[in-house]
Amino acid sequence: MRIALIRIIFFLVLFLIWYLIVSIGHVPSYIVPSPVLVLDSFYHGFMKGGYLLAIYSSLIRVLTGYFLALSVGIITGILLARYYLLDITFGKIILALQSIPSVAWVPLALLWFGVTDNAVIFIIILEAVLPVALSTKNAMKNIQPNLIRAAQTLGSRGLHLYKNVIIKAMIPELVTGLRLSWAFAWRALIAGELFISGTGIGQTLELGRSLADMAQVMAMIITIGVIGFLTENIFFGSIEKKVRLAWGLEGGN
């Protein structure tokens, strides 16, 4: 409770400083808009529905890409864990791919798919597939062999063994991978949307730039940060914590 209060006061002070600097310093609003203008932009954006639609379209896009990436990533991870030859060849390419930032894929995606949703989804998949593939591979390789042996000697095998032991043992590491993948997907989404047509957070941001509407640009940057924070830290963070607790990887609290 006290922490929450301290945070609220901190943000209020921050806004006040921002407001004072802009109004006393006479900074033009196309360079740094006053917080009042940004709030106004939020108000109108949400009331007229433009921002809501943008957020909705972006979420659909990122979820599509993310879930496709998960399916591909989990299967890839399992194959990499099971086939040594695949790991030392294809597995290394994946590691190399991971060092390429998502914007580097934009020109390629635009040439292949045009300025469409598919281009963005393609970029998201490329980015998000890697962490989940790697964490699936590691999770599978790191299962204690004795857990599997114990289960087998108790009569478990086949589907029962997969469902009740192998997948369960993988979950903590997998959740971390899912969270990382989501963070990558979110960043790739925004990078991609700057370049395509249609509605979305990235497009609204880009539109703000072309209209020199700095308040809209700021509003979208804040939106990206808030949604990113809520999903990555609050949503995935609490899942991760619950899982680690349930798996006995962390003590109380």
């Binding site: 114990a150 289960a151 009569g155 029962h160 009740n164 369960k168 979950i171 006995g248």
Partner: protein, 263 residues
């Protein structure tokens, strides 16, 4: 008539160390090993680290296959693990995502042992090891000795014919170790099982075993196979026990056989 439960027929086991990518040197762990274990016998396998004790249990359980020779269970070749031969590990190998009761009930959810009253039956076994009050606890809340009781209850709950224990009390302090040994004997007096118990403590073997098999390392072969015809619980002052102990220690301290032994 004494019935043979487990038979090793000229079993040789190589491990091909290729998978680590380091070398392709063949590691002979067991060579031409033959012995048999009779129904309801409590056999201790004694030997230094790396002598292949865990490998022997893996062969009986069925998740390790012999390179040469054959392992028989009830006169039939061992195929795969199936719940008739359960294994208790030194590091417990409990499922951390299940609570204590569900851990014990695990085997009763498999096809071989499908039981509609899995939870009730699991609770019975948990009661048998004195831990029914902990049924809803998580694994990480238990001490080492308690975890091992749960692991034993889990292994017994499927009512196996053979109970395999791989240095089960090796990670416990002396006091809980001794109470666990007594506890195990008490449990086994209630549920008759054939037991293969791996240890590298001579005194533990002398306290528990109807028969002690001492194996040496590189490659593992039988050095001593002796019956301990002393009734339990045992008094260590017993002359026969001292004799067996001396015989074993003689072999164990032989420098050619037990290099780097941690006994």
């Amino acid at each position: 008539m004494i019935q043979s439960k487990i038979q090793f027929l000229n079993v040789t086991k190589h491990f091909n160390n290729n998978s680590t990518g380091k070398s392709s040197r063949k590691d002979t762990v067991l060579e031409n090993l033959s012995f048999e274990v009779f129904a309801e016998e409590f056999v201790c396998i004694l030997g230094p680290s790396g002598s292949g004790k865990s490998t022997i249990l893996g062969l009986v359980a069925g998740f390790i296959k012999p390179t040469l020779g054959e392992v028989l269970f009830n006169s039939k070749s061992v195929q795969r693990p199936d719940g008739s031969r359960t294994l208790v590990f030194q590091e417990y190998a409990l499922f951390p995502w299940l609570n204590i009761l569900d851990n014990v009930a695990f085997g009763l959810t498999t096809k071989n042992h499908k039981n509609n009253h899995a939870k009730e039956k699991a609770l019975e076994y948990l009661n048998l090891v004195g831990l029914s009050a902990y049924k809803n606890h998580s694994v990480s809340q238990l001490s080492g000795g308690m975890k091992q009781r749960v692991a034993i209850a889990r292994a017994l709950a499927v009512d196996p014919e053979v109970l395999l224990l791989d240095e089960p009390f090796g990670a416990l302090d002396t006091q809980s170790r001794e109470s666990m040994q007594t506890e195990l004997l008490r449990l086994l007096s209630k549920t008759k099982k054939t037991v293969l118990f791996v240890t590298h403590s001579v005194d533990e073997a002398l306290k528990l075993a109807d028969r002690i098999i001492v194996i040496g390392a590189k490659p593992g072969k039988i050095l001593i196979d002796t019956t301990v015809a002393v009734s339990k619980p045992r008094d260590f002052k017993n002359l026969q026990l001292s004799e067996i102990r001396n015989k074993i220690l003689d072999k164990l301290t032989h420098p050619d056989i037990f290099m780097g032994s941690d006994i």
